[in-house]
């Protein structure tokens, strides 16, 4: 049979002109294992972005041309992104559509799947062909707070899958490509939803984003409002910072990990001053290694930790940060 095509959504804005989000490169890496890779984007890719996509083996880049009557902010609305995905799938005759697992991308992917009559798996951690390329697609995900693995097959062509960050390690292609940008005209009706205001969130410079980071350090009520030690350890490790919902509702930090917050599955998750309530665990239990610091030896988070320190985070975290910095400095000297 002919080589299948996998289409990847270049989610939202790239962080700057020269960078492609790591989660997107992970999607491209998975897509390459499935067949020819095309990407669809709503923004004009820079030369640097094209070079990165080429290094990762992307063969086609389709840039949506939205009607000029559409207000600029409306391009982020689910109905508009869904229309772009549908047009791109039809143009490329894609057999698989892969999108990230953020709330917005999931909604757009779902609506696109509805319009395409396609099956959908959300938050997948692994994707492959079931038997033969172009046949049924197989997607595995982790559910029930990381306690079960569930594999589904999708028999529709195309199949739509959203993939969680850190599902694979992004790799460049053995044979680089030189993709060119093709315009993809989009015909959308004026959306019924009006964007009254839209304020992009500042991307914390110097720190990876919570969704994508390979290491996450999170703080809870036990910080008592001082996130200094949490941020200090995160910076020593090059990690992202997260929190519990309680800490966010207190106004101590802006983003939290958990079932109603961000779901993370990094290589290492470090929770400090966090009890490990089911709602929080639901968003981090799929992490590869879990480390906890808590002054209560009975803290439930210890039950799911690989390594735990019973102690005051205000003492433990700065000492750990110091030791890691010293280790790194030694490594740099060698």
């Amino acid at each position: 049979m002919t080589r299948p095509t996998a289409l990847v959504l270049l989610d939202g804005p790239v962080s700057d002109a020269t960078e492609v989000r790591s989660s997107v490169l992970e999607l491209v890496t998975i897509a390459r294992s499935l067949g020819r890779v095309d990407v669809v984007t709503l923004e004009a890719p820079s030369l640097e972005v094209l070079a990165v996509l080429g290094a990762h083996g992307v063969e086609g880049v389709h840039q949506a041309q939205l009607p000029s009557s559409l207000p600029a902010d409306a391009r982020h609305l689910t109905s508009v992104v869904a229309a772009v995905l549908v047009a791109a799938v039809r143009r490329t005759d894609a057999d698989v559509l892969l999108a990230p697992s953020g709330f917005s991308a999931k909604e757009a992917a779902a609506v696109a799947a509805a319009r395409l009559g396609a099956g959908l798996v959300t938050d997948a951690a692994a994707v492959s062909w079931d038997a033969e390329p172009g046949g049924a697609l197989r997607a595995t995900k982790r559910v029930f707070a990381g306690s079960w693995d569930v594999t589904s097959t999708v028999a529709t062509d195309p199949a739509v899958v959203t993939v969680r960050a850190n599902a694979v390690v992004a790799e460049t292609a053995a044979t680089p490509t030189h993709p060119e940008v093709e315009a993809l005209p989009i015909d959308v009706e004026a959306p019924a939803v009006t964007v009254v205001a839209r304020e992009p969130k500042p991307r914390t410079t110097g720190r990876p984003t919570l969704e994508e980071a390979a290491v996450v350090v999170a703080g809870g009520r036990g910080t008592n409002g001082d996130f200094g030690p949490v941020e200090d350890l995160a910076d020593a490790l090059g990690a992202a910072v997260g929190a519990t919902r309680d800490a966010v509702f207190e106004g101590w930090f802006d983003r939290y990990v958990g079932q109603t917050g961000v779901t993370v599955a990094p290589r290492v998750y470090i929770g400090a001053g966090i009890s490990g309530a089911p709602h929080h665990r639901g968003g981090m239990q799929a992490s590869q290694v879990v480390v906890a610091v808590n002054n209560d030896p009975e803290a439930p988070i210890f039950e799911i930790s690989d390594f735990a320190v019973v102690g005051d985070l205000a003492d433990v975290l700065p000492q750990a940060a110091e030791a890691i910095r010293a280790h790194r400095a030694r490594g740099a000297q060698q």
Binding site: V111, D149, V193, V196, T260, F307, V316, A320
Partner: protein, 267 residues
């Protein structure tokens, strides 16, 4: 004003959640109202309570669940909070539905209510805690051809215009749409009320309406296991984590933590 609230019946997150034969086990002893849907009920009730007297008296909040027979606890809970009417859609033909089958059944239930009198708003929770999909609200909006305002942190209704604020993955937004619309609310939108004694007593005897797939004019081949576009082929519990290495801090806890990371090549 007529509002339909969509409520899901899910295994309690503190229970031993599991799969059997490719489906989530829905043991009645562990079934509960998806906690996040309490925020949806609260949002619907508050919108009605904010109306002028005459309009408020003429309003109706209807809770709908697509669930097995054992799910009445969800509607009972909604009655306790002050919902007027509860409908359970139950049919063997709906078992094994995927996101699209579920959305089709929910949309058909809204249309059936619409045949009685206009439905101004559909309100849902932000996610079902069993699958954490967060896609059914958008799919119901799509099926009904109505605008969607999802993941609202705050909700305001002025005349026939609904305005929400929301935090998307990379922006803070204010969106507006005319009614009729579909709204999903996050757990930050409100604090669900505790039922009062009077409502608890009244909820005991309140009837639950039950509808079948045929009542909704659903094609049995398009919903349930027959219409599902994806099928679970394998499910297994993950092996438990190994032993926890526990260190009690006596002044060296931070160093021990750093050492653990370094020794496991995690730095």
């Amino acid at each position: 004003m007529r509002i339909v609230v969509l409520l899901k019946y899910v295994p309690d997150i503190a229970s031993d959640r599991r799969f059997a034969e490719g489906r989530v086990v829905r043991d009645p002893a562990e079934g509960s109202l998806n906690e996040l849907d309490e925020n949806a009920v609260e949002a619907a009730l508050r919108l009605v309570e904010a109306l002028p007297d005459a309009e408020r008296e003429a309003s109706e909040v209807v809770a709908v669940t697509v669930a097995p027979e054992t799910a009445d606890i969800t509607l009972r809970k909604a009655y306790q909070m002050g919902v007027h009417r509860g409908v359970r859609v139950t049919d063997d033909a709906l078992a094994g539905s995927d996101y699209f089958g579920t959305a089709a059944a929910l949309a058909a239930a809204v249309r059936r209510l619409e045949a009685e009198a206009p439905v101004d708003l559909v309100v849902t929770g932000m996610a079902a805690l069993d699958g954490l999909g967060s896609v059914v609200p958008a799919l119901v909006a799509e099926a009904l051809g109505r605008p969607q305002l999802t993941l609202a942190k705050s909700v305001a209704l002025e005349g026939r215009t609904l305005t929400v604020t929301r935090e998307s993955d990379d922006a803070v937004e204010t969106l507006a749409a005319p009614l009729p619309a579909v709204l999903s609310v996050t757990d930050a939108a409100n604090s669900p009320r505790y039922p009062n004694f009077k409502l608890i007593m009244a909820a005991r005897t309140k009837a639950v309406e039950t509808w079948t797939a045929a009542d909704l004019g659903l094609d049995p081949a398009a919903v349930g296991a027959a219409g599902a576009r994806s099928v679970v082929v394998d499910s297994a519990p993950r092996p438990p984590r190994g032993e926890t290495e526990l260190v009690v801090d006596k002044g060296e806890g931070g160093k021990a933590l750093a050492d653990f990371l370094i020794r496991n090549d995690l730095v």
